[in-house]
């Protein structure tokens, strides 16, 4: 059974059809990529899956549950976490606090307890902090745990966003252009990290990516969107040779060798 299944999903903004009748499936424990030229509707499709937009048509089934039209926090609760194309951290909060917010849905939140502080509350806080420290170890940010997020260098901000998303213990992790702006070394390290997310945590990964080295390097299945429609799907090798994909990227008549 697929982990996530989108059936005939369509989203319109006025006259523009950003996502048109897309059917999409993600199998558990796989690394998947969505690629496509700028404006192809990739991020819109992400926003539809995470509840930031509601699809005009179609359904999205996640883990056997219909999540179409749910609020973003409910979808997060169902087990989908994401990062953003232009990093959206909680700038004034520390690295640890950012991750603790990511853990919000895992915590029992009660204002009476927060004021009275019974032992159970303190235990929960300690436990949460311990788990966040593990995550920071995983992404390599432990040394900066108490730094304010907006003061972090770019690469660390990307790592922190990943750690924050992992803190909600998702089943499916959506990464929106996670290696944008990274140099080759950083990109290579990030790819290692994404693989480890799948292998160590057993989390299914879906990423939007422009860097073909990343897409071809780690994804097991690649889906290509163009003008809001799915034009190709398959293994990286298949997609790379698909003439429609080459046409979408480079225009009619281009040689396949460019990709």
């Amino acid at each position: 059974m697929p982990l996530l299944e989108a059936r005939g999903v369509t989203k319109r903004f006025g006259g523009l059809i950003a996502v048109q009748n897309v059917d999409y499936c993600i199998e558990p424990h796989t690394i998947n990529a969505i690629i496509g030229p700028n404006g192809a509707g990739k991020t819109t499709f992400f926003n539809l899956m995470t509840g930031i937009y509601t699809p005009d048509e179609g359904r999205i089934i996640f883990d056997g549950k219909d999540i179409t039209g749910l609020k973003p926090n409910r979808i997060n609760q169902a087990g989908i976490a994401r990062t953003f194309q232009n990093i959206r951290l909680f700038g004034a909060m520390t690295v640890i606090e950012n991750c603790l917010v990511g853990m919000h849905r895992r915590l029992h939140v009660d204002w009476v307890q927060a004021i009275l502080r019974p032992p159970a509350f303190n235990r929960q806080e300690r436990e949460a902090q311990r788990r966040v420290e593990e995550l920071l170890d995983f992404v390599g940010l432990r040394d900066k745990a108490n730094e304010v997020a907006k003061n972090l260098p770019y690469g660390d901000q990307r790592r922190l966003e990943l750690a924050r998303a992992l803190a909600s213990e998702p089943k499916l992790l959506l990464l929106d252009e996670p290696t944008a702006g990274m140099n080759p070394q950083e990109t290579a390290a990030a790819m290692q990290l994404f693989r480890a997310v799948r292998d160590e945590f057993g989390i299914t990964v879906l990423l939007i990516e422009h860097d073909m080295r990343v897409v071809m390097g780690i994804s097991e299945r690649v889906t290509v969107l163009d003008y809001g429609q799915k034009i190709a799907e398959g293994s990286p090798e298949e997609v790379r040779r698909n003439p429609r994909v080459i046409e979408a990227y480079l225009g009619r008549g281009s040689a396949a060798s460019y990709i």
Binding site: P72, A81, R88, F90, V101, W111, A114, I115, A145
Partner: protein
């Protein structure tokens, strides 16, 4: 053995040096206190002296709080200032007690507003409405100027004050949710306008819920309109309290004229201190909990917060309700203490005043809210007024400013400082925005101690007791780190070179900036 005694000696010297600020702080408090005690109301320069010395005295708890000594010790010192020195000053001159009570009322409200504005980032310009809800709740049921009490005889017994204090909290929280529901989707300016309107609605509601404004003889009069509700009851105090206060003042050699009134003053002072301390505690604990983190997350980035599983609606309503509840409690106390409420006390300018307290102190900072309340209230009620008093006193004796030979009677009446309250206020806010935009005592992010590292750190501290700034491993690894950085940069430059067309070779030095200047 020798090293041990050396270390001990060192430790004692360190302790002595560390104790110095504390000793200075205590000396400061004692000097300011005794100077204040020695002031004489009949003195020509009394207004100036008292408006310099009293603010200095009010700042003393903040100075103590900033000391780097154990929290319990600081708490004891602050308690001595608040519970011993302050009442003694109050016996000497009850105006000081009035002032400090007013400060505490504003501090508690600023802490409440801080929850909404500072923590959750929801700009609320109608906060005084919740204060009004609390004040009118007690006012309506104890003043006999309205028909509810007169016709039905439902006047609340003064003993019910404590129940109403609780009800005031609940009523304000419910009002907060009522305000929060329609404005959930609004942010920033739009939210500010709607909350401003809400504050005005409550004020106009209370000035219209009477039979006075309309021509028809409406039999129902709930709030007595713009005339306000007089004769609001105070809670009864047990007799022994009056006796205790009387014997205390007599034994201290500071007898007060009206023991009853003074006891009530002391009672309200203590009560607002307790409410203020509770507010601070509650706000601090909320801030440092999943709820506070969710609020800050919403403030920083609403979309990301929701995507991380933070329920926006629930958290915003919680902020509105909890923030409002502090003002509700203070409203009940305010009505009982003043024995009179009218819509005038809850005007828009009051909301601005509380917001100014939050901004001056520092958004999201609880210490800041209390400090801001002290500054703004003192400026408003004491410093500017005293300057006017001083000028009048000098005018009466035909005083001439030395050196410039300016006769003070020529000082124009229009330039009396007390009239320029709002101007000074505005200037203060502008200066703040330029030089300290995050407030006088800005909020700091809490530093969490890493659990996995704790043991390691302690042992490290023990090992490096000689405060070595540069550890040997740093020295060893530094050249390697620089080498690594160079390699990475070279690799970068190579990549850039690959991407560039062949006819534009990268200029040397562009991809490879100069080596780090500091040599290890």
């Amino acid at each position: 053995m020798a090293t041990q005694s050396l270390l001990q000696e060192r430790a004692s010297r360190l302790n002595w040096r560390e104790a110095l600020p504390t000793i200075f702080a205590i000396l400061y408090v004692l000097i300011v206190f005794s100077l204040l005690r020695s002031l004489n109301r009949a003195d020509l320069w009394f207004p100036t002296y008292s408006s310099i010395l009293f603010p200095l005295f009010v700042f003393s708890p903040f100075i103590i709080f900033a000391l780097k000594i154990p929290f319990a010790l600081r708490a004891v010192l602050i308690a001595i200032i608040g519970l011993v020195l302050m009442p003694i000053l109050g016996m000497q001159d009850s105006f000081y007690l009035e002032l400090i009570t007013q400060i505490a009322i504003f501090a508690a409200m600023a802490i409440g507003l801080n929850v909404v504005v500072g923590f959750a980032g929801l700009l609320d310009l109608g906060y005084v409405a919740f204060f009004a809800v609390g004040a009118y709740l007690w006012g309506i049921f104890t003043s006999n100027a309205n028909t509810i009490v007169r016709i039905s005889g439902a006047q609340a017994a003064p003993e019910l004050f404590w129940l109403f204090l609780f009800l005031g909290v609940i009523a304000a929280a419910i009002t907060g949710i009522l305000l929060g529901l329609p404005v959930l989707r609004l942010r920033g300016d739009y939210l500010a306008i709607v909350t401003l309107g809400f504050g005005e609605i409550i004020r106009i509601l209370v000035s219209n819920l009477s039979n006075i404004s309309s021509n028809r003889r409406n039999p129902i009069n709930i709030t007595n309109g713009a005339q306000g509700l007089p004769g609001i009851l105070s809670p009864p105090l047990p007799d022994f309290m009056f006796q205790a206060v009387e014997s205390l003042t007599n034994s201290l050699g500071l007898p007060v004229n009206n023991v009853r009134a003074f006891t009530y003053q002391l009672f309200y002072y203590g009560l607002v201190l307790i409410v203020c301390a509770l507010s601070a505690l509650i706000a601090a604990r909320l801030d440092n909990s999943p709820i506070g983190r969710a609020w800050t997350a919403i403030r920083e980035d609403e979309v990301a917060a929701q995507a991380m599983g933070v329920p926006k609606v629930k958290m915003k309503l919680l902020a509105f309700a909890l923030g409002a509840s502090f003002a509700g409690a203070m409203g009940v106390i305010f009505a009982a203490r003043n024995t009179f409420v009218s819509p005038e006390s809850f005007s828009f300018i009051q909301s601005i005043f509380i917001l100014a307290v939050v901004i001056v102190g520092g958004m999201g900072s609880i210490r800041g809210a209390i400090f801001g309340a002290a500054i703004v209230t003192l400026l408003n009620l004491q410093v500017l007024k005293n300057f006017s008093l001083q000028i009048n006193a000098l005018r009466n004796i035909d005083w001439v400013v030395p050196i410039i030979d300016f006769p003070i009677r020529n000082w124009p009446q229009q330039l009396e400082p007390a009239r320029y309250e709002r101007l000074v206020f505005g200037l203060l806010l502008i200066v703040m925005m330029i030089f300290r935009p995050s407030g006088l005592l800005p909020a700091k992010r809490r530093q969490l101690e890493l659990q996995g590292e704790r043991a390691e750190r302690i042992s490290e501290k023990e090992l490096t007791a000689d405060v070595a700034e540069i550890r040997p491993e740093d020295l060893l690894s530094a050249p390697a780190a620089i080498g690594e950085a160079k390699e990475a940069k070279a690799a970068n430059a190579a990549d850039i070179a690959e991407d560039l067309p062949a006819d534009q070779p990268p200029t040397p030095g562009e991809g490879l900036p100069d080596e780090p200047k500091e040599k290890p």
